[in-house]
C-alpha cells in the first residue's frame, strides 16, 4: 500500500471537509433553530471571498485578517435580510418550503449582483504563504489549506462555545428545543432568530474565505458549495454543530480514500452514493440533532 499517497490524500480531504463544515455550521443552525433552509448561505460566503480578494489586491490585507470587519459586516447585512425578508415568511404554513424559495431568489440576486460588480472572471487568492509548505517526514502541508483548516477548527469551536457557554447561545438552543418555554422565560424569539441568522451568515463569510484559500471562485461558485454544504449538514445532523464538523471530516476522509484508491472519475459518484447509503441507514444523519 502506498502510505504517502494515502496520507497525503487524507490530509487534503480532511482539510476540504472541515472548511465545508465551517461553511455548513451556520447553515445547520438556521435550519435547525429557525426552520429556514437558507439557500443563499453559500452566496453570502462567496461575497466574503470576493471582498477578501479585493482587500488583498488593493490594500494587501490578509484574507483571514479581513474577517475582522467582514464578519460583523455580514452580520449586519444578515440582520437586515432577516428583518425584512425572512421574518415575514416565518409566518407561512410551511416555513421550510417558503424559506427555500425565498432564499433561492436571494441567491439568484446575490449571484448576479456579484456578476455585475466583479464580472464573471475566476479569482484566485494569492498571499505570501500560498504554495508554501512545511514538511513532516514524507508529508507535505501547504500553508494556505492548513490556514483554512485552522480557521475552520477555530470557527466551529467559537460557535460551539458560544452556544454552550454564553447566555445568548443558551437562549438560541433553548429557543430551538422549546420555543414556547423559552419565550415564557424572557427570550425574544425575533431577536434570537436575528442573532442566529446573523451569526450563521457571519460564519458563512469565514467559510467562504476558507474555501477561497483552497479553490478558485467565480460568481456562480456558490451553487457548487451549496451542494457540499447540504451533504455536510445532513450527514452531521441538522443543528448539530460538532456533528457538522465530524461530517465534514468524514466526507473529507471518504474523498481522500477514494482519491487514493479509486479511479478518479468515480470519486464524486462514490462520495454521493456513500452519503445516500449513510442517509438510507441513518435517516437523521450520523449524529442526532443536539444543540
Amino acid at each position: 500500500m502506498n502510505t504517502v499517497l494515502l496520507v497525503q490524500s487524507l490530509i487534503g480531504g480532511i482539510i476540504m471537509g472541515s472548511v465545508y463544515a465551517l461553511l455548513g455550521v451556520g447553515f445547520s443552525l438556521t435550519w435547525g433553530v429557525m426552520r429556514v433552509i437558507h439557500i443563499s448561505h453559500a452566496a453570502f460566503g462567496l461575497i466574503a471571498a470576493f471582498v477578501a480578494y479585493g482587500c488583498l489586491q488593493r490594500w494587501g490585507i490578509d484574507p483571514i485578517a479581513s474577517l475582522v470587519f467582514m464578519v460583523p459586516l455580514l452580520f449586519c447585512c444578515a440582520c437586515f435580510v432577516y428583518r425584512f425578508l425572512i421574518l415575514p415568511v416565518t409566518k407561512a404554513r410551511e416555513v421550510i418550503v417558503s424559506s427555500m424559495i425565498l432564499t433561492f431568489g436571494i441567491a439568484i440576486i446575490v449571484e448576479n449582483i456579484m456578476l455585475l460588480i466583479w464580472g464573471p472572471d475566476p479569482r484566485l487568492i494569492t498571499t505570501w504563504y500560498t504554495s508554501r509548505v512545511f514538511i513532516v517526514g514524507p508529508f507535505y502541508f501547504q500553508y494556505a489549506p492548513v490556514a483554512g483548516f485552522v480557521m475552520a477548527v477555530a470557527g466551529v469551536g467559537v460557535i460551539h462555545l458560544f452556544l454552550k457557554k454564553t447566555y445568548t447561545g443558551k437562549a438560541v438552543r433553548a429557543a430551538w428545543q422549546q420555543s414556547d418555554a423559552a419565550q415564557l422565560y424572557g427570550v425574544n424569539l425575533t431577536r434570537i432568530s436575528m442573532i442566529t441568522f446573523g451569526l450563521a451568515v457571519g460564519s458563512a463569510g469565514a467559510g467562504g474565505v476558507g474555501l477561497a484559500l483552497l479553490y478558485s471562485f467565480e460568481p456562480h461558485a456558490h451553487n457548487l458549495w451549496l451542494i457540499y454544504l447540504f451533504l455536510v449538514v445532513i450527514v452531521g445532523g441538522v443543528g448539530n454543530v460538532l456533528g457538522t464538523a465530524a461530517a465534514g471530516v468524514l466526507i473529507g476522509i471518504i474523498t481522500g480514500l477514494s482519491l487514493a484508491f479509486l479511479p478518479y472519475q468515480w470519486v464524486n459518484p462514490l462520495t454521493f452514493g456513500l452519503l445516500m447509503a449513510v442517509l438510507a441507514v441513518r435517516p437523521h444523519g450520523l449524529f442526532r440533532s443536539e444543540v
Binding site: Y167, K170, A174, Q178, A181, L184, Y185, V187
Partner: protein, 234 residues
C-alpha cells in the same frame, strides 16, 4: 396584583374563553380548577402573552399588559411553568435553571437564586450536569418548578404541576407549592387535582367551558355540590 377582566380568546373560529374575569391578590395562592379543555391553559397563555386576546384586559400591578410579548410579560415578573413542563430537553439541569433566570433582572441574581433553588431541590443539585430528558418525571417537575423560581417571580403561574406524577410525588410537589406561598410568592395554580389544590389554596375559581362558573374561598368551592359531583366524584 393580577386582574383579568372579561377576557375573550378565540382560536380561529373556536371560542376558548368567553369573558373571564379573575383577580390574584399579592401574596395569595389562587386555585383555578376545571376539567380538560375548559380553557385553563388558554387563560395562562393569554396572560403570558403567548396567544393573542380578542377582547377584555389583563393588568398587572395596575398597568395594562394586554398584547405584550411573552418575554416582556416575563420581565414584569409574571412567570409561567407551562403544562407538560416543556423543559429544554437536551440542556443540562443547570442550564435549564440558568435559562429560567434569562431576563435581565433575575440574571443579575442568578448565583443567589441558583443556590436557593438547589437547596430547595437537593435532587437537582445531584443531577446538575445531566440533561433534562434523562431525569425521572418527578425530578423533571422539580426542575420545571425550579426553573420558574429562578425567574424570581412576582406571580408564579403553575399549570398542572402534578400531571403524570405518582401520588407520593404529587403530594410532595403540592407541599412545596404551599411552602413557597407561605414564603411570600404569589401563585396562580391550575390543576385538575381539585382536592389537593383547594386544600392549599385560599381562593379558587371554577372554569367550565371558557367561563367562570364559581368563585370564592376554597372552602366554599369544596362545599359546592357541583364541584363535589363533577370534580371530586363524591
Amino acid at each position: 396584583m393580577l386582574a383579568v377582566e372579561r377576557l375573550v380568546v378565540k382560536y380561529d373560529e373556536l371560542t376558548a374563553l368567553r369573558g373571564v374575569s379573575l383577580t390574584v391578590e399579592s401574596g395569595a395562592l389562587v386555585a383555578m380548577i376545571g376539567s380538560n379543555g375548559a380553557g385553563k391553559t388558554t387563560l395562562l397563555n393569554a396572560v403570558s402573552g403567548l396567544i393573542p386576546t380578542r377582547e377584555g384586559t389583563i393588568s398587572w400591578e395596575g398597568s395594562l399588559i394586554t398584547g405584550l410579548t411573552p418575554d416582556a410579560v416575563c420581565r414584569l415578573g409574571i412567570v409561567q411553568a407551562p403544562e407538560g413542563r416543556k423543559l429544554f430537553a437536551k440542556m443540562t439541569v443547570e442550564e435549564n435553571l440558568q435559562m429560567g433566570a434569562y431576563s435581565p433582572g433575575p440574571r443579575a441574581r442568578v448565583a443567589e437564586s441558583m443556590k436557593r433553588v438547589l437547596e430547595l431541590f437537593p435532587r437537582l443539585a445531584e443531577r446538575r450536569r445531566q440533561t433534562a430528558e434523562s431525569l425521572s418525571g418527578g425530578e423533571q417537575q422539580m426542575l420545571a418548578l425550579g426553573r420558574a423560581l429562578m425567574a424570581t417571580p412576582g406571580l408564579l403561574m403553575l399549570d398542572e404541576p402534578s400531571l403524570g406524577l405518582a401520588p407520593i410525588m404529587a403530594a410532595q410537589i403540592f407541599e412545596i407549592i404551599g411552602d413557597l406561598n407561605r414564603a411570600g410568592t404569589t401563585i396562580l395554580l391550575v390543576s385538575q387535582e381539585v382536592l389537593q389544590t383547594l386544600s392549599i389554596a385560599r381562593d379558587g375559581y371554577l372554569l367550565e367551558n371558557g367561563e367562570i362558573t364559581l368563585a370564592g374561598p376554597s372552602e366554599r368551592l369544596l362545599a359546592d355540590q357541583r364541584v363535589k359531583k363533577s370534580y371530586l366524584g363524591l
